[in-house]
């Protein structure tokens, strides 16, 4: 079975490493981007569309919300699940992200179990990840 792809978008290298590690433990193969624009460039340069993208909110050049809006405008990415992973914990921002097309929202700091739980909720079952 082909490995499931995930894209980690976060301006913090440490956070990208942590998230990448957690996702690899859950069976994902990961790629990284430091901001929304880099992520768009990566997506456009690759034929494989990731199953999942973990999206930080505050990033330079193109922030997470702008990335979600850009991705949701393109039909080819409609199946890609978008999980916002952020320290922004305002209800208003959560609603904004969901309205823009995010599938779920995970607040930092979080446990590995919470991440796994969110993925389950997004319909990413273990069997698909193995």
């Amino acid at each position: 079975m082909a490995t499931t792809q995930a894209l980690v978008i976060d301006d913090s290298r440490a956070m990208r490493l942590i998230l990448g590690d957690l996702l690899q433990q859950l069976g994902y193969e990961t790629t990284e981007a430091g901001d929304g624009q880099q992520a768009i460039t990566l997506l456009e340069g690759d034929d494989t569309i990731p199953t999942l993208a973990l999206v930080d909110w505050n990033m330079p050049v193109m922030n997470g919300l702008e990335f979600i809006r850009a991705v949701r405008q393109k039909h080819c990415y409609s199946d890609m699940k978008l999980l916002v992973v952020t320290s922004e914990a305002e209800v208003g921002q959560m609603v904004e992200a969901l309205t823009a097309g995010a599938d779920e929202y995970l607040m930092k700091p979080f446990s590995s179990e919470a991440l796994a739980c969110k993925l389950e909720m997004m319909g990413l079952q273990r069997a698909e990840r193995a």
Binding site: E90, V91, M107, C117, E120, M121
Partner: protein, 274 residues
């Protein structure tokens, strides 16, 4: 940290069995040491053996309660296991909406609610998916033996880690309001739940009604076979003949329990009276 000796551990096991029917296996000494450490610091200068001795001998119910609550398993989270939503949405509520359409009453009991996430999950499910229930008399009782767990449940206030576990972001935005770093269930949902202190292995309140749905999830597995049968027998009396009993996702019932699978041949842990 002080170590628990064999005599004290046996005393602790007997106390837990007597108070809440919790069968503590012989290999959980480390767990008891970790959980009782703080309580021992407060009451017996850090000596856990002395704490157990004191709690089991003195006529001090408060200390005994504190000790039992410290040892209790309060593991819970919002929408724990997909079976909760699936059974409510696909089977139990649609069927009861039909069966109770004349009376327009629906009674649900979360029988070991711990810190309340299960009961609030049910309240949110009903609110989101069954708007027709607004005209019904819906009773949602949530009970636990632990007063401290009930206090937290009643307050409906949860930290980041609890919010991140199992709760869809949409529900977070719809049903919670921020209280500093915590999140509190909005009053409109909180007020729908009646929290009561009930110890499943002690006397139950006389006015406890018969319920259409009983949630008894991840509780029976901690009981001895005898206590399990006793509790199930009483649960049966408080379950409507056409009602449902929902267990935890990995639990099942033996044939003699007085319940049969709600969907014949299914391995889902929800049952109906035999």
């Amino acid at each position: 940290m002080s170590c628990i000796n064999e005599h004290s551990y046996l005393t602790l096991c007997n106390l837990l069995c007597d108070q809440i029917a919790l069968s503590l296996p012989p290999d959980k000494v480390y767990l008891a040491e970790a959980r009782l450490q703080n309580l021992a610091k407060q009451h017996t200068h850090g000596d856990i053996n002395a704490l157990i001795e004191k709690a089991s001998t003195v006529a001090d119910d408060a200390l005994r309660t504190e000790l039992v609550e410290a040892m209790a398993i309060n593991e819970t989270y919002f929408f724990r296991d997909p079976i909760l939503s699936q059974s409510f949405l696909d089977t139990m509520v649609p069927s009861l909406l039909e069966k109770r359409r004349r009376d327009k009453t629906l009674r649900i009991w979360s029988a070991a609610c711990s810190t309340g996430q299960e009961a609030y999950s049910v309240a949110m499910l009903l609110d989101q998916h069954f708007p027709q229930l607004k005209d019904w008399e819906v009773t949602l009782v949530a009970s636990d033996f632990s007063q401290s767990a009930l206090n937290k449940a009643q307050q409906g206030c949860y930290g980041l880690n609890e919010m991140n576990r199992g709760l869809p972001a949409r529900n977070m935005a719809l049903y919670f309001e921020q209280q500093g770093l915590d999140w509190q269930v909005k009053p409109a949902i909180r007020e729908r739940i009646s929290f009561q202190k009930i110890n499943l292995v002690r006397e139950w309140p006389d006015n406890l009604p018969v319920f259409d749905i009983v949630l008894l999830r991840n509780v029976l597995l901690y009981f001895s076979m005898e206590d399990r049968q006793r509790v199930l027998g009483r649960v049966r009396k408080h379950t409507a003949n056409d009602g449902y009993l929902l267990l935890g996702s990995t639990e099942s019932l033996e044939k003699s329990a007085g319940f049969v699978p709600a969907i014949p041949g299914s391995h889902r842990p929800f049952y109906q009276p035999a």
